[in-house]
Subunit: 483 residues, 2 copies
């Protein structure tokens, strides 16, 4: 199935913060029991400290509940205490989940859910886009990796944890949400209005292309959900049955997902003589995991990545890199930890702690956390992939100097109307470029950038980006595949 | 004793966040016992919820301690849980205090301590100066009310509570600390280097002045500590014995302190027919407090306040205002709550929760929280009291346009070299003002503002501010006293 033929639904995930190489609830419940069994004969000194601390926490709980000047809810104190303990870990991937959070979470790993279609993470305490999902409201609106979301519907996200922030951004299909977004290198935050939509069910898209006269398969993986490994195997088998002579795996913008899923996929590629993955626990003990594969695939393979490739995508990228395949594109996100969601209490669906249990290491034992995977073949997209929308508060004219004019210049160049500068100074050449663009697009030829002209420039640029025709990273991957 | 004759030591308090109208540990311990007695027969449903929540908190505690990928300390989880519960209150005046915090706290109410001499509060999560203490390192360095402290010795304060932030700022006498400070209306944060010093022991300063031929007392109260009420009574008696015919009470920059202290002082002024204070608890029950005073003082009185007057200072200001005295100056800070520090656990000195127990209301029942007390006679200080230091990265010359030039213009005007504009444009008149200033102060006459000239302008301005000669608020208070 070719992804271009699909109507792709939209998604709001926060996989990076949430699923990221996740092992699953079921496994965890038995694991917890094990832990409790282990704990019973622990040193009594340790449990004395714990008993005393619990006594203190209870005193504080009662003190606050009975004496604070305003009303205090029991649940508020419960959530506050657990979140407060987690906050001391200084780990953006650990969090407390209440009933609402767990509902969202289950929707995400199991079936469809509704949102704006961007994966977010906390970076320096600010909600930051890891990557917008293909064809999502977030992507259509022009949001980019590393955009910081400051406000949602005029409410500040400051001080919220990732789950709380995401709860504000998510919502039912068809509803509107207004985001105030700060982009690096842009002086003022801007507002984006998005209409929420459904998520995609499919996570794997494949096509076959003739490259240097060879049948070349391209498999794109958009996230690692429960069905991804199976989808991937189907696609791979189909391509191989069709006589594929080389394979490009594209995990750009893929924020990760279930650990199981990426493990199954690696079983197709990593031979049994090296671990495909290493997992290190809190005591520094390392488990190495192996496939039972005799040898590598008979055809060349490479993997395309960008700064939105995180977690499970990085497990794939670094493993493929270390067994000798090319990695093409840009440095990846850098998430090297594994979380588990552990239900607590008797009613197992009511309260859950998502906690970072493990580090994952590459086959050779490297930890890419906060570093990312460096490609073997670096390739950026054209400059206009990284520019901001043009904010036209007043029509821009000859001799003006403005950051917004710089964005327009970069885009005009991308559209073939090169003004020969992109520093934001509106010179004669820029005027001529604008005039040519206006002539070609049935706009009034003024040589000035008004709202209508800026809007048309942006639409044309987004069309190019979506068409995939100027996808330099994919081109490069295909280009080096048989070299 | 005249305050001008004193060598005033320096202080770091965070009274506003800390003492603010504080009732005292001793009282509180017995109070706590009362609460526990009350609690025993409480509804069993309520205590079931609590038991279940404590069970959940304990499960989360164990889960984190045993499974988190990095080492976790028991104390870290204890503090996190208590701080997390307090964080849900969204009250900057409630906090958890560990052994270190309590030590600092006791030093503050009892004797001397060491720091930079600024009272700070959390405003929108940012550590904000309420007011620098007179002659403190903070005041000498030019810090002002509402300045935001972003970093201390290059460490960000983001996400810290008030106690944690203060712990970073405080330190031993003689040590240096570098603050990164953001001032409203100034585009970039600036660094200030301060040398920490001792606190003042005295909190009350008095003098007598001839105004309209009348012997006029001025009593300044810098904070409300354990000795303040006694110091105040001594000063008042001495002034009255000397035949004082009118009194100005100055609580500018006074961040508050012990509730006892201001209560005793109000006993001198508020007659028994109105409450001098009302206290409202969490159930909305209100206690009214009365003096046994027959009548008001026979001489006129007014109170001088500014935006640094907080908490106990506002109890004084609003009470005096409502019984008919003038309040002169600027709107006060706006803190209308009362905290108590309650030790928890068996070792009473190890862990303490400082919690907002009450609202305090004015004699007439008004709550000034986040509103402040509006003066009856508004009077600002000269413009140069509110300007920033001049940051000279490159010498400023004719025809330049810069915010820093605006600060210099305001200061030059204050020094009698009026450039007739303060918009930051360096025009011919500004050049002439700079030249005159340079001539009068033995500087090279360049007509340009270089680092040396800017430094001299600032020094001259600080000298005027410290001399008290241009204190328009105090002048106004004396001016209206007998009207």
């Amino acid at each position: 199935m070719n992804k271009k033929e699909l109507i792709i639904f939209v998604i709001f995930t926060f996989f990076v913060g949430f699923l990221g190489a996740f092992v699953g609830l079921k496994v965890m419940e038995s694991k917890l029991v094990t832990n409790e069994n282990i704990k019973a004969p622990a040193a009594s000194e340790e449990s004395n400290v714990e008993d005393e601390n619990m006594q203190l926490i209870q005193e504080a709980y009662e003190l606050i509940e009975e004496n604070y000047v305003e009303d205090v809810e029991d649940d508020q104190l419960l959530e506050g205490a657990i979140q407060g303990m987690i906050d001391t870990l200084d780990d953006p991937y650990s969090s407390y989940m209440n009933v609402e959070d767990i509902k969202d979470f289950n929707e995400q790993i199991e079936s469809s859910f509704q949102g704006i279609g961007a994966e977010v993470s906390l970076v320096d305490g600010v909600v930051t886009i890891v990557s917008p999902i293909k064809n999502s409201p977030a992507e259509k609106a022009g949001l980019r990796p590393n955009d910081q979301i400051l406000k949602v519907d005029d409410e500040s996200l400051e001080g919220l944890d990732l789950n709380e922030a995401v709860a504000k951004i998510r919502g039912e299909k068809g509803t509107e949400v207004v985001l105030l977004v700060q982009r690096k290198g842009v002086s003022k935050p801007k507002e984006y209005t998005l209409v929420r939509d459904d998520i995609p069910i499919e996570t794997v898209y494949d096509e076959i292309k003739e490259v240097d006269g060879k049948k070349t398969g391209i498999i794109e993986i958009t996230s690692f959900s429960e069905t991804t490994a199976e989808e991937f195997e189907e696609a791979l088998t189909k391509l191989e049955d069709n006589g594929m002579e080389g394979l490009v795996i594209d995990v750009r913008g893929n924020p990760g997902g279930l650990l199981d899923s990426i493990e199954e996929i690696l079983h197709h590629f990593v031979p049994s003589d090296v671990p495909y993955l290493q997992i290190e626990d809190g005591n520094g003990e390392v488990d190495k995991f192996y496939t039972n594969l005799d040898e590598k695939k008979p055809y060349p393979i490479n993997v395309v990545v960008d700064e939105g490739s995180a977690s499970a995508s990085e497990i794939l990228a670094v493993a493929m890199k270390e067994i000798g395949y090319d990695i093409v594109g840009e440095k990846t996100f850098g998430k090297g930890t594994v979380q588990q969601a552990v239900p607590i209490g008797k009613e197992k669906d009511q309260n859950t702690v998502k906690l970072t249990f493990y580090k994952w290491l590459s086959p050779e034992g490297n930890w890419i956390h906060e570093k990312g995977v460096k490609p073997t073949v670096e390739q950026k997209q054209p400059a206009y992939f990284y520019t901001s929308p043009i904010q036209v508060e007043k029509t821009f004219v000859l001799d003006q100097n403005d950051e917004e004019i710089a964005h327009a210049q970069t885009m005009l160049k991308g559209l073939g109307y090169d003004p020969k500068r992109d520093d934001g100074y509106f010179d004669e050449a820029t005027k001529q470029a604008v005039e040519s663009f206006q002539k070609d697009h049935d706009l009034q030829v003024t040589g000035e950038i008004d709202e209508k002209t800026a809007g048309k420039i942006e639409t044309e640029i987004l069309d190019i980006i979506r068409s995939g025709e100027e996808d330099l990273q994919l081109e490069k991957a295909l280009d080096v595949l048989y070299k």
